[in-house]
């Protein structure tokens, strides 16, 4: 087991300030302390070599959890074992074995070419020359940035910079990688390249990867398993493609019509999710798919017909909206 989390919680103190100068003056003398429970008693386990998507809406507690698991933050309560260590004890042996990449933070020296920062990391991680050159050669080849090593970081594009950040994070060949929105702000090609890279890296090095991203393509492309948290609580832990099973009692019927049909006529067959002249998507109860399909084919001018599950991202979005904890599929 690479990661074992047991009832981990983290709360932050904060205070509110109402609008205006008067309230600022009031705040100078009195501040009502409030508690924000960023993460509430979450528990899960991750096996060696797994690639797990860690999902949730903004402010759900994903980054806070990753920060606790990488030792950046102390939890308020609960336990975690990562690679056999308690992360917030920040033991050197633990730090030598993992890496964290944050899409919005960088470790490279801005005014220097990336190879200076990479060399610094070589010394920080106590790598010998051969090991360093080998890993550097492999990573720059895979990410196609060999020619950019001597270019100042400030002159690189966002995508190129992120690739260099990845190399800096992986130069010591970590067993465990936390990726916090690694493709944020990148164009589609750079996102694809980075996804391909991690797919390969996970397969080749058997590294465990925990990924947070708001891009579904990142999650669908890389992770079989997802952990979803909302308002600090775990709401789903399981197979990505079974997310809908938790609550989806409906299916989608997609129709191509030979002639246009009015919406009120379509509503007799199911909830109209989308509609234009010839294309219609209807949502129908899962248990009634057979009867509804027959009725549609009998009464509507159908030229093409398709039955589909609710898309995964829609299921995830519904989970984001749900407040109650649901371990049904865990």
């Amino acid at each position: 087991m690479v990661i074992k989390v047991n009832r981990l919680s983290k709360s932050f103190e904060y205070y509110k300030k109402e609008l205006g100068l008067r309230n600022s003056i009031r705040n100078l003398f009195y501040r009502e302390k409030l508690i924000k429970e960023a993460v509430r008693e979450i528990s899960f386990e991750i096996e060696e070599g797994e690639m797990v998507g860690f999902l949730g809406p903004n402010g759900a507690g994903k980054t806070t959890t990753l920060k606790m698991l990488s030792g950046i933050l102390h939890p308020t309560s609960g336990q975690a074992q990562v690679l056999g260590f308690t992360p917030w004890e920040r033991k050197k042996a633990f730090k030598m074995q993992f890496a964290i990449v944050m899409g919005q933070k960088n470790q490279l020296w801005w005014d220097l070419p990336a190879n200076e920062s990479l060399y610094l990391n070589k010394c920080i991680y106590e790598l010998d020359d051969r090991q360093y050159q080998e890993t550097l050669g492999e990573l720059t080849e895979l990410l196609d940035v060999k020619d950019l090593l001597n270019v100042q970081v400030r002159r690189l594009s966002l995508g190129e910079r992120m690739k260099m950040e990845l190399i800096a994070a992986l130069i010591h060949r970590p067993r465990l990688i936390f990726l916090d929105e690694p493709t944020i702000g990148l164009d589609i090609l750079s996102q694809m390249k980075i996804r391909e890279f991690f797919r390969y890296y996970n397969l080749e090095k058997k590294a465990t990867v925990v990924l947070t991203s708001h891009y579904m393509q990142d999650i669908e492309g890389l992770c079989k398993r997802v952990i979803i948290i909302n308002e600090g609580q775990l709401v789903y832990d399981g197979d990505l493609h079974r997310v809908n099973d938790a609550f989806a009692h409906t299916k989608l019927i997609k129709l191509q019509l030979a002639v246009p049909v009015r919406v009120d006529e379509l509503e007799a067959f199911g909830r109209v999710k989308s509609h234009d002249a010839f294309t219609v998507t209807l949502e129908v109860p899962r248990a009634e798919v057979k009867e509804r399909s027959k009725a549609i084919l009998d009464h509507l001018p159908v030229s093409d017909f398709n039955i589909e599950d609710i898309p995964v991202e829609e299921g995830i979005a519904q989970l984001y909206r749900r407040r109650e904890v649901n371990h049904a599929l865990a």
Partner: protein, 277 residues
């Protein structure tokens, strides 16, 4: 016994590793500054000009031939040279990191360095250097000290040179700790610019030998807020004007302050809340 030996070996390995990384920090800082060559040369020129202004005080002291509280112009030059050299250490090696620390704490920029297998305090407080300030001031300070040393006919032997360098080392540690401590408060208070600016202005208390202040101020400046230890002790040692109680205090103080800084740092770090991303 073996365990003790292993620990010592491990400690020695860590010291060597941190020294190697520190040299890389200095090299990277210098290279980063040199990327902007006009700015780099401009800074060198500005720092040299600033130094010339400081040197004009020395000229005044020599021209007038005055002695300050029994110190001859040559002795004053030794004090000023020491002050200029230690200003190089403080302003060139510590200040930029000290001033940046509260921003790092407030904006969550300690996140990534917290995960590196080196001392966080080391990474956060020594990562950057301004080597234009350091090189100009250190060179000028060293020249002044050498001139004063020769004019005062201070013998060059292991005791005087070793002692003076040792006290410079102590002063460097003391100034690192003294000016870092107020910044560590940022872990609790987030913004400590007011406190930091006040303590930073204390540096100028070292401009002149502490003998110009009355006895009470001297005692406070040595034992309570030990700012006078920084630039007064090295010249006092070679001029044989150091009371034995000061000698003992000078040997004890760096350990006390380093311990205090470590304690405050560790406590503060528990309060680190990063920043939302």
């Amino acid at each position: 016994m073996w365990r003790w030996g292993d620990r010592m070996n491990e400690l020695w390995r860590e010291i060597k590793k941190h020294w190697l990384i520190y040299r890389l920090f200095l090299k990277n800082s210098l290279m980063a500054q040199m990327e902007y060559r006009f700015n780099f040369i401009g800074n060198l020129a500005m720092e040299s000009g600033y130094l010339l202004v400081k040197l004009s005080y020395v000229v005044v002291v020599y021209r007038s031939g005055v002695s300050i509280h029994g110190l001859s112009p040559d002795e004053i030059l030794l004090f000023i040279g020491t002050f200029v050299f230690l200003t190089a250490v403080y302003a060139g090696l510590y200040m930029i990191n000290n001033f940046g620390l509260r921003g790092k704490i407030k904006d969550g920029d300690l996140d990534l360095i917290l995960t590196k297998p080196v001392s966080l305090q080391f990474m956060a407080t020594l990562r950057q250097a301004d080597l234009t300030i350091f090189s100009v001031d250190a060179l000028a300070g060293a020249v002044m000290v050498c001139i004063a040393w020769a004019r005062l006919s201070i013998p060059v032997n292991l005791v005087t040179v070793g002692g003076y360098l040792g006290f410079l080392g102590i002063s460097s540690v003391v100034s690192y700790c003294l000016f870092l401590l107020p910044q560590i408060l940022s872990f609790w208070l987030m913004n400590t610019s007011a406190i930091a600016e006040i303590t930073d202005s204390f540096w100028d208390f070292n401009n002149m030998p502490m003998d110009i202040y009355n006895r009470w101020i001297q005692q406070i400046g040595v034992f309570i807020l030990p700012i006078f230890v920084v630039t007064n002790f090295p010249p006092m040692f070679v001029l044989k004007k150091m009371p034995s109680v000061y000698l003992g205090w000078a040997l004890l103080l760096p350990f006390l302050l380093l311990g205090l800084v470590r304690l405050a740092w560790k406590r503060g770090l528990r309060n680190y809340s990063s920043a939302s991303s």
